[in-house]
């Protein structure tokens, strides 16, 4: 297998492990319902923790889906393009995705920076401001930045793979031409 495909697989497999977070969320939410309803002793931490854990799992799931090339897209028009045009349109799409992911990374970086450091540059994590006051907002913004970095990495990887596939595509076309001539 090509090394770039191996990297994709690593992200997909990691996604499978991350999905265990959903199971944890189910269990702690059920625990909360039981504690509140049966024992009249609601917890303080479940509500914030569930949205935090699910946001982590969803963001990483997004990265894993990109690695797996699973998208909600309308491809029936581009699929009907001739191979060369299709290659170029796919290249264009990858470039736009790269621009998007780089800009999003910059935005996520700024928002993570503000969540971890005060305007004077001292370290202080932004907290949720609830009774528990956990630093979930800071961690979430930090993880969103990490997600963006992973996405940029994968987009560059897929872009390079696409560029190298040009040679394969032209060779395949020549082969088809040869077959047609023969």
């Amino acid at each position: 297998m090509k090394p770039s495909l191996v990297i994709d697989r690593i992200f997909i497999r990691a996604g499978h492990f991350v999905s265990i977070l959903f199971l944890i969320v189910v269990c702690i939410s059920f625990f909360e319902v039981v504690m509140r309803y049966a024992f009249n002793a609601p917890t303080l931490w479940v509500h914030e923790t569930t949205s935090f854990l699910v946001s982590l799992a969803m963001l990483f799931g997004g990265v894993a889906c990109y690695a797996d090339e699973k998208h909600i897209a309308m491809t029936f028009i581009s699929d009907s393009f001739p191979p060369k045009l299709r290659w170029f349109s796919a290249l264009f799409v990858e470039m736009c995705t790269l621009v998007f992911s780089l800009m999003m990374t910059y935005g996520a970086y700024c928002s993570a920076r503000d969540a971890f450091f005060s305007p004077f540059g001292t370290f202080r994590m932004q907290t949720s401001g609830s009774a528990l006051d956990l630093p979930y907002p800071a961690l979430n913004k930090g993880f969103f930045f990490a997600t963006c970095v992973m996405l940029v990495f994968l987009v560059i990887l897929h872009l390079l793979r696409h560029l190298f596939s040009y040679h394969e595509m032209t060779r395949q076309r020549d082969l088809e031409k040869d077959n047609a001539n023969a």
Partner: protein, 440 residues
């Protein structure tokens, strides 16, 4: 800076960019995000806008309501991995009996019961496609009627509460999801009732479309078989009651009820000795894959709506609708038309998150009820599940349909059902009371 062009031109630019990027096959989530980022810089000429856009994403992903979406997906996938739905279908055979079109009616009733346990489409359509469709074809049902029944029935998954379409609507429109669920019940009843009436009428006018089965099977069933049949019908009803009961009994929030539902399904699966580590892990894998796909659509839509509203887009569209010299009901009709068209090309979550932040304020300022509008939206998305060229229900059915049934056959079969969905929309617009009475 593009802001000199004015918002009307800006709207056209965004629209044309969306259309062209959609056509070259760019994923929906990335193209909306790309346009949002590009416009945030080009329109305002300020890099700090990108931070604002990114901050919106954090708010969206950490929304507590959104937790319900992966949980309902997880519940539905776990349900698919058990035999609960299959046993329900087989137990409901008694319904079929001597009625003309009985198996189609049976499939529709099963579809409604399954929909009350599941908030998504997909699993249901696949299941009906594997069980009901071959049986109807074997009995000599009209192929179009059989396909239409299965596709429209499967799509009911998001119409009968719980429903992730209503959850996303409630989240973007900021209204009570509990009320939305309640309001969807009469709408779902009208829709399913219309489907069943249609099946009965067609099969009685053209008896060759849906022949009766002959003998009533339950007459020569043993006691043990009847007991099993009752249990097979009871379990799904208990699960559905468990979820809705936890919401309306004031025990759990909608988000928690999804988690409670997962526990309920796992418990039922354990009783049936169908619960294993593999089943749970398979369901988790499927969940993260589904959620990973929709999260980009959500992120992209959040970004572009945020930027568009800062550009003044919400006020622009608001004034555009208010400037129309027409009765307010025309605004509703225009919006429904826009949603129908968008639904043909975009994924429902994209449609909801792109249009609702703009439409809902207009609806409320016209004096309409946003919950009623949410139910209208939900019925409208029923059409989008069936309508060509991208009706997801049709694609799900194609993946399991017997050989020889092509996508074009499916799309040719669903139009009577689409007409009934549009008729339901019309009834709800003319008589809003059919929806509003239940939560008022």
């Amino acid at each position: 800076m593009l802001s000199a062009l004015g918002i009307a031109t800006g709207t056209v630019i965004i629209f044309l960019m969306m259309l062209s990027l959609l056509f070259v096959g760019m994923p929906l989530g990335f193209l909306t995000g790309f346009i949002a980022m590009a416009m945030s810089y080009l329109w305002f000429g300020n890099v700090n806008m990108m931070q604002m856009v990114a901050a919106r994403v954090s708010d969206f992903t950490t929304s507590y309501t959104f937790v319900a979406v992966p949980m309902f997906v997880l519940m539905a996938t776990m349900l698919d991995k058990t035999g609960i739905a299959k046993d329900l279908y087989n137990a409901m055979r008694v319904m079929a009996g001597r009625i003309k079109g009985g198996v189609a009616i049976q499939s529709m009733i099963v579809a409604v019961i399954l929909a009350s346990m599941s908030g998504i489409i997909g699993g249901e359509t696949v299941l009906l496609g594997m069980l009901a469709l071959p049986q109807m074809l074997r009995l000599g049902y009209n192929q179009k009627l059989a396909i239409g029944t299965v596709t429209a029935g499967g799509a009911l998954g998001t119409m009968v509460p719980p429903s992730i379409v209503l959850i996303i609507y409630g989240m973007t429109a900021n209204v009570s999801i509990g009320d939305l669920f309640l309001g969807a019940i009469p709408a779902a009843c009208i829709l399913a009732g219309m489907y069943m009436t249609y099946i009965l009428v067609i099969c009685n006018v053209f008896p060759d479309h849906g022949p009766a089965m002959g003998e009533n099977e339950w007459q020569n069933m043993s006691r043990a078989e009847i007991k099993k049949m009752f249990l097979d019908i009871l379990v799904p009803l208990l699960i559905a009651g468990w979820i809705l009961g936890s919401i309306y009994g004031g025990i759990a929030s909608v988000t928690e009820s999804a988690c409670v539902g997962v526990i309920g399904v796992a418990f039922a699966a354990a009783l049936r000795r169908e619960l294993s580590i593999e089943v749970v892990f398979d369901a988790l894998k499927h969940t993260i894959r589904t959620v990973g796909m929709i999260i980009w659509v959500g992120i992209g839509a959040t970004m572009i709506i945020g930027v568009y509203n800062l550009m003044g887009g919400d006020i622009f569209i608001h004034d555009l609708f208010m400037g129309l010299d027409m009765p307010p009901v025309f605004t509703i009709l225009i919006m429904m038309f826009i949603l129908l068209i968008l639904g043909m090309f975009l994924d429902w979550i994209g449609v909801a998150m792109l249009t609702m932040p703009i439409f809902v304020p207009i609806i409320t300022s016209l004096g309409y009820d946003p919950i009623w509008f949410g139910v209208l939206f939900c019925v409208n998305m029923q059409v989008s599940f069936l309508s060509p060229p991208f009706g997801p229900a049709a694609f799900y059915l194609k993946s399991v349909a017997p050989e020889g049934i092509e996508l074009t056959d499916i799309f040719k079969s669903v139009w009577p059902f689409i007409l009934m969905q549009i008729a339901t929309l019309a009834i709800m617009i003319i008589f809003p009371e059919v929806v509003t009475f239940i939560y008022n």
